[in-house]
């Protein structure tokens, strides 16, 4: 908790990635065949449901199912546990992917630095 802040501001200021800036490495670098993320809910569906922009991500189809379930089962607010769990799990996986992207960027930066150090030493 906060080790990345220490790395960013104190110990490894050049290599620790800044999430505000664009990541510089090619997404396919190091992967044989990287699969694209699939968007299941269509723009038209999201527009009809009037989803706010922050919720129009790659888990929107689960959210739409949850909203439909809630509307169908009102006033039983305890009814949609399964749908809610599905949506939550999808969001969790999305967050884990974000963490992995950050870590990938960090390791690639360190690798780049190592290569440059070797080139200089040689």
């Amino acid at each position: 908790m906060g080790a990345h802040l220490v790395r960013r501001y104190v110990t490894e200021t050049e290599t620790e990635p800044d999430p505000a800036k664009k990541f510089e490495f090619d997404p396919q670098f190091g992967f044989e065949n990287r699969k694209e993320r699939e968007m299941i809910a269509t723009q038209e569906q999201m527009n009809l449901a009037q989803l706010p922009i922050e919720q129009r991500d790659y888990c929107a189809h689960y959210l739409l199912k949850l909203m439909k379930c809630k509307r169908d089962n009102w006033p039983n607010f305890l009814a949609c546990k399964h749908e809610r769990h599905d949506w939550d799990y999808c969001e969790h996986q999305d967050y884990v992917m974000r963490m992995k992207e950050y870590e990938r960027e960090r390791r690639l930066q360190l690798r780049k630095k190592r290569i440059e150090a070797q080139a200089e030493a040689a």
Partner: protein, 202 residues
């Protein structure tokens, strides 16, 4: 006109007449001024004679003694206000302390004013009543208060500055959105081609 009271006889006395006569005598002898004397036959306590009002600045020791006596003060305690043209006259210089500083538990004659009868009144007594200006000492000295307040404010400003320069964040990449980062939903021009954004699984 002679009345029945001067005659020592066993005759009934007209008491109303007695009262009227006494009133008329008192009136003719009375030293009072104006309406109050006319109605009561004696002086009202609120009207002051010349010797109880403030006078000119005292120059000789005798004048000082007389002024001190006038204000119910000891001669050692009496100090007139400075004679600098502001028109104080011989009014005494009393300490600039408000009534908040006086003992709350002592049995004052006027408890709300914390003052006894006959006590000399400060020039600015109306400012120093307990509803108004309070000169009682603060729990800590002025310098300590200043240091603590400005120290705290300075520290907070410094920490906010540090937070701007080195913000805290979670070690995650930015969130990925579909449809070229929601180009149309964010108000992008439908005619123009958006910048291509591809998101991959990891």
């Amino acid at each position: 006109m002679r009345n029945t009271t001067s005659v020592r006889q066993q005759q009934p006395v007209n008491m109303a007449g007695v009262g009227f006569r006494r009133w008329a005598q008192a009136l003719s002898k009375g030293k009072g001024s104006g309406i109050s004397a006319l109605l009561s036959g004696s002086r009202a306590a609120s009207s002051a004679s010349k010797d109880s009002l403030p006078g000119p600045y005292p120059k000789t020791p005798e004048e000082r003694a007389a002024a001190a006596k006038k204000y119910n003060m000891r001669v050692e305690d009496y100090e007139p206000l400075p004679d600098n043209g502001e028109g104080y006259g011989d009014y005494p210089k009393l300490p600039d302390r408000s009534q908040h500083e006086r003992d709350p538990w002592y049995q004052w004659d006027h408890p709300d004013l914390r003052r006894n009868w006959g006590e000399p009144i400060h020039w600015h007594f109306d400012m120093y009543i307990r509803n108004r200006v309070d000169t009682s000492p603060s729990p800590v000295s002025w310098s300590t208060m200043c240091k603590q307040l400005f120290g705290f404010i300075g520290f907070m400003l410094f920490m906010f500055y540090v937070g701007e320069k080195c913000p805290s964040y979670q070690p995650v990449a930015p969130k990925q959105y579909p449809f070229n980062n929601l180009y149309l939903e964010r108000g992008g021009d439908p005619e123009k081609e958006p910048e291509d954004v591809k998101n991959y699984e990891i």
